[in-house]
């Protein structure tokens, strides 16, 4: 038993948390995925009480959202609350209170620091000439060590702390962790830029005008930010179309 829920049901709920975004929709967001992941636990908690089970399913089908890797925090805590016999309003309020922080914490730590950091390191390895197996193994192993550890930690603290999980999140200080990752990501980005500049098939090999164009593009991204992304990709596609037309007509 873990926090009043049989171990097998807990493990099943954790495994299902990897599918929590499977029915992502604009109406309840990951609401139905959350209910899907809660089912093994709810079946055990409300065994022999179909009315209470149906009521619980209904409240977990409601609108919910969180970063997928941290959704386990809410999932574990909700299982704990249901097992402790918390009333409907408490469960609803708890889920409403955590969904914003769990989304922004995950976005800041994972999507804005961990993923670009590991991607940048893997890209640098590629431009430094590491073979495909090495690059892919590095990326998948390092990234998923962090990924699965975060999921497991979140689910465990949710299940053990229940509605007090906010304290564990505050102690873990995930925002500070993502801030401390930033200089490392920047150093890796420097390695990537250096290796893409001077490595085999890099810009320097193509000549000084291409290096100058690359530097200009880098500055545009640095100054303009995310608004530059789509126009830059569109410009590359336009160049490809134009050069193809030149090739066909010439």
């Amino acid at each position: 038993m873990s926090a009043g829920v049989p171990r097998r049901a807990v493990l099943s709920a954790f495994a299902r948390s990897f599918l929590i975004q499977g029915s992502w929709n604009y109406h309840t967001l990951i609401g139905s995925g959350f209910a899907f992941a809660m089912l093994p636990g709810l079946r055990r908690i409300f065994a022999g009480s179909p009315e209470r089970m149906a009521a619980s399913i209904r409240r977990h089908l409601e609108l919910f959202n969180a970063h997928p890797y941290l959704s386990g925090v809410a999932l574990g805590a909700a299982l704990r609350l249901e097992a402790d016999g918390a009333d409907e309003e408490t469960v609803r309020r708890f889920k409403a209170a955590v969904r914003g922080p769990l989304g922004s914490l995950g976005d800041t730590l994972v999507w804005a620091a961990w993923l670009p950091g590991v991607s940048t390191a893997a890209l640098a390895l590629f431009w430094l000439g590491v073979p495909p197996t090495g690059v892919i193994a590095f990326f998948l192993i390092v990234y998923n060590l962090g990924h699965v550890a975060l999921r497991a930690w979140g689910f465990r603290v949710g299940l053990s702390d229940g509605r007090e999980v906010g304290r564990s999140l505050a102690r873990a200080n995930l925002t500070r962790l993502s801030t401390s990752l930033q200089p490392i990501v920047v150093a890796l980005l420097g390695v990537l830029v250096g290796s893409a500049l001077g490595g085999g098939g890099g810009l320097a090999e193509a000549g000084a005008p291409w290096v100058a164009l690359g530097a200009a593009a880098f500055v545009v991204g640095l100054v303009v930010g995310h608004r530059a992304w789509r126009p830059a990709a569109a410009a590359v596609v336009a160049c490809v179309v134009l050069l193809s037309a030149v090739g066909v007509l010439g």
Binding site: N25, H27, R43, H147, V193, S195, G199, L243
Partner: protein
Amino acid sequence: MEIVRIGLLGGLLGLDATSVGQFMVSRPLVAGTLVGWALGAPGLGLAMGAMLELYLLVSFPPGGSRFPEGATATAVAVASAAGVEAAGAVPLAIGVGLLWGQVGGWTVTLLRQANAVLAPEPEDASPGPARIVAGHLGAIFADFSRAAVVTLTGVWLGRWLVGALAGRWPLPDSASWALLLVGGAVSAGILLRDMGGFRRRRVAFVAGLALGVLGTRFL
């Protein structure tokens, strides 16, 4: 048969982006290498995947937001260029991939609208366990089918375009890769801005830059 195999692989890779796991096998770097392996060209797959990864370095896996779909875009790009010797194959295929990534992103939006019908709601008369499991797994299967169809049609279109135009491409190999790298440099600049900007992070960036340049000389 090969195009169907790549379509199915694209379907599986597409699932990883949102619906199942997010182990990041859907990132272009991994997806490109896997599709390259399936076609007997892992080196080309990794190189094209690396290029698209650079473009999508600042594009997060979609939660509520709409982004280009990297997995199907990469599968389409690599499968369109594999086996074509002409210098234009890679830039043309990357161009098709970038466009197809937008199409993929648009189909993800459509799927999420459809999921609102598939997934049970709290107001439903009887949202029992079986209905929840069927709705959820049905939505996952729909995502797989969507990504497979997007990949399949993209590869068909990409191969036709690359076959028709690659031989007439006017730039040599090195300039073609350089053109693509210039586009990717914008994403590298955006990432530096996201991480605090050049002024705040100049020491770390310049130290890394020096290491990168030295690394290409000595490794």
